[in-house]
């Protein structure tokens, strides 16, 4: 009898340990994402969600994610972020500039939760920031545009005059001017990150005014579709828009967040998460150029060479000296190129852009 008792006890213990071990292992890390737009925008929020799914796949079984889309950047944002913190999410990504202050306020109340804020500049012990150097991709796009365009005018559809948008316009122009110093740009502000109707109208207006290459800093594929319809070329933004412009798309400046998200989640799992700022570009794979299509081989080669040069650091898009549109030389605080602070707060157009920045 005693022997059976011992075996029974051992069996029970084994089962208990297995169950305990299983449930302990099943203690997944809960990660939250806040998007400002719909994941169906096929642009900014969509790419973040692509990154989230990639991270989920890479860390399958160890993480569980939640996302909230269409969160407006006003006072409601704070509640959404706090709700994620209160419901056991230990790592929260807030993916738009307008979430900066709400993120900090909530982070202050929940010191044991880690927050990652995209495109912001305020940090804390448990708040890190991250962004992508889209301007690197823009420089390449500018060069391609200068080669492809027959009219010498780029059409630029933009949302709001914030520094990121301005620096992207400048990078495009600098790239274009490196090939054609007389390149011009026509800019239309649609006052929204996402308004397909308006973006389409803006695209038509630009094309009607003689533009034959389009680029955008808005989120929908509307402009790409118009480009395809009208038989001109365009660059996709945030995500690969080739589906909407099979003959039109030259390349797209896509954001790839998957690796970064996986890295940060792993850091939390390993107990090694620390605050900081990550500003990745082509070199770290946060900016990925969609395949170069619909262009002659020599232009493709030039683009790939430039991409390699920027990736290795040999070519710096904002290398000094830089002249602003009034003819003055911009102070060079980063040695031989503008320093990150200058790029992140850029509020001037480079020489060659004739428009005035709205609101200045």
């Amino acid at each position: 009898m005693k022997k059976w008792n011992i075996i029974a006890m051992a069996a029970v213990l084994a089962i208990a340990m297995a169950t305990f071990g299983a449930s302990y292992a099943a203690e997944k890390l809960k990660i939250g994402f806040i998007y400002t737009g719909p994941i169906g925008d096929l642009g900014w929020s969509y790419q973040h969600d692509v990154g989230r799914k990639a991270m989920e796949k890479a860390l399958a079984g160890k993480v569980e994610t939640t996302y909230l889309e269409n969160v407006p950047e006003g006072p409601d944002a704070e509640r959404s972020i706090e709700q994620l913190a209160r419901t056991g999410h230990k790592l929260i990504f807030t993916t738009s500039f307008g979430f900066m202050d709400p993120t900090l306020k909530v982070a202050n109340k929940y010191p044991n939760v880690f927050f990652e804020h995209a495109t912001g500049f305020k940090r804390a012990k448990n708040v890190a920031t991250y962004a992508a150097r889209f301007y690197e991709g823009r420089y390449i796009q500018g060069q391609i545009a200068a080669k492809i365009s027959k009219t010498g005018v780029i059409g630029y559809i933009v949302s709001f005059p914030i520094p990121e948008v301005i620096s992207n316009i400048n990078a495009t122009m600098l790239g274009a001017q490196s090939v054609n110093p007389n390149m011009k740009v026509k800019i239309i502000w649609v006052n929204s990150w996402f308004d397909p109707g308006k973006e389409a109208d803006a695209a038509k207006a630009l094309i009607d005014q003689g533009v034959d290459v389009l680029t955008q800093h808005t989120d929908s594929p509307a402009a790409m579709q118009i480009a395809e319809q009208r038989g001109i070329h365009a660059f996709g933004q945030s995500s690969n828009m080739i589906k909407f412009g099979p003959q039109a798309q030259l390349t797209a400046d896509t954001d790839y967040w998957g690796d970064y998200y996986t890295k940060r989640a792993q850091a939390v799992l390993d107990g090694k998460w620390a605050s900081g700022d990550t500003w990745g570009g082509l070199d770290s794979g946060m900016v990925v150029m969609a395949p170069y299509t619909n262009m002659p081989d020599d232009v493709k080669k030039m683009a790939m060479d430039t991409q390699a040069a920027i990736t290795s650091g040999a070519l710096k898009p904002f290398k000094c000296p830089i002249t602003d549109q009034d003819g003055k030389t911009v102070e060079c605080k980063g040695g031989d190129q503008l320093d990150p602070g200058q790029i992140l707060s850029m509020n001037f157009y480079v020489k060659g852009v004739d428009d005035k920045i709205p609101g200045k």
Partner: protein, 363 residues
């Protein structure tokens, strides 16, 4: 038709009391069906939506924070709607009030101004909202232009105006050129009531507004005039009440309340002026006004209830992955049912037997 709507000889008291409850019951039933269609457990979903937010202090505080601007604006709108004056532009008046009050905050930012700043800001906010609301009012009184459309169009204009200011002249010089004013100084901020929560003094102001409106409507000549003009416009005219003055008054008051709500929201939960300060409060308040049956206390309850649905909807998005659009569907359905049940106070439905034609009539 076999069904006919008939006016009752007198208002049904039972239905008057039961109507909101019936409406809510009908809405919950419809929502349960919708949840089931979406593949969610109806009981669990309803629980997450309506009961859970009531069980913890944080959610309760958030309900109050969300309800504060809604109730304040809705009270003002109810004064208009009782008199059949349709102010649809509360959203624009909210924004203009926020801008007007913020002007002072931006002007005195960084200086060592005294505690007079906040009250002055609130006053400016109310004044700004009132003046902006007078534009559609004057268009109606002087030119006969539809106030529904003028007030609505001005919402868009206000939006663009706010956008221009925060991106240009009022932009924080130390804000890395992003479109927001500098953070308001403490003297320009609405104080919170509870440590760690967001419940702020605006809630108290709202309660005061509810009480003031109850007194206004129930015990003053102006209140009587508003109610009379709504119920019997011809009688009101014969009594010598001036419809034009009433239009101007109600628009100004509702504009002032909307503007006050705007500056409180900006100086409270938000803390600075930025392009996005309202998730459509001005329009949601219209629903609150009707849900509250244009009665101040009713509006208070309706505002809290609607805020509950917002909070519940956000929780449901996290807990059971239900899309936020469902909250809008819910609010629309609720409003329809409330309106229908309210109609049953005055009317009743009857079956009519169509008399059969005698056989020889076709000869």
């Amino acid at each position: 038709m076999p069904l006919v709507l008939e006016r009752r000889s007198e208002r049904s008291a039972t239905i008057a009391i039961a109507s909101p409850l019936i409406a809510i019951a009908l809405t919950l039933a419809t929502m349960a069906v919708l949840f089931a269609i979406l593949g969610k457990n109806p009981v669990e979903a309803l629980d997450v939506y309506f009961l859970e937010p009531l069980t913890d202090p944080y959610s309760l505080g958030e309900i109050a924070v969300k309800a504060t601007p809604l109730v304040m604006i809705a009270i003002g709108l109810s004064l208009c709607y009782i008199a059949n004056i349709w102010n649809i532009g509360a959203e624009g008046q909210f924004l203009v009030g926020a801008v007007a009050g913020s002007w002072l905050a931006v002007r005195t930012n960084g200086t060592d101004a005294g505690p007079w700043v906040l009250p002055a800001m609130l006053l400016l906010g109310a004044l700004g909202g009132a003046l902006y609301a007078l534009i559609p009012a004057i268009c109606k009184v002087r030119f006969g232009a539809s106030e529904i459309l003028t007030s609505l169009m001005l919402v868009y204009v206000a939006n663009f105006g706010l956008d221009y200011l925060v991106r240009g002249p009022w932009r924080d010089p130390h804000g890395m050129n992003f479109p927001t004013t500098a953070e308001f100084d403490p003297v320009a901020t609405v104080p919170t009531l509870i440590e760690g929560g967001r419940l702020h003094a605006g809630a108290i102001v709202t309660l005061l507004v509810v009480m003031a409106a109850t007194v206004l409507l129930g015990r003053t000549i102006m209140g009587f005039e508003i109610r009379l003009v709504g119920a019997a416009p011809k009688a009101a005219r014969f009594s010598g009440f001036n419809a034009d003055k009433l239009t101007l008054f109600t628009f100004a008051v509702s504009g002032a309340l909307a503007g006050l709500a705007g500056i409180i929201e900006v100086a409270g939960p938000v803390g600075h002026l930025q392009p996005d300060i309202s998730p459509g409060y001005g329009f949601t308040a219209i629903i609150v006004a009707f849900l509250g049956r244009l009665n101040p206390v009713g509006i208070l309850i309706a505002g809290l209830f609607l805020a509950l649905t917002f909070i519940g909807g956000e929780n449901a998005e996290i807990a059971i992955k239900v899309p936020l659009d469902l909250t809008k569907v819910f609010q629309g359905i609720l409003l329809f049912y409330v309106l229908a049940c309210d109609s049953m106070i005055i009317y009743r439905i009857r079956f009519i037997r169509t008399p059969r034609k005698p056989a020889h009539a076709n000869v």
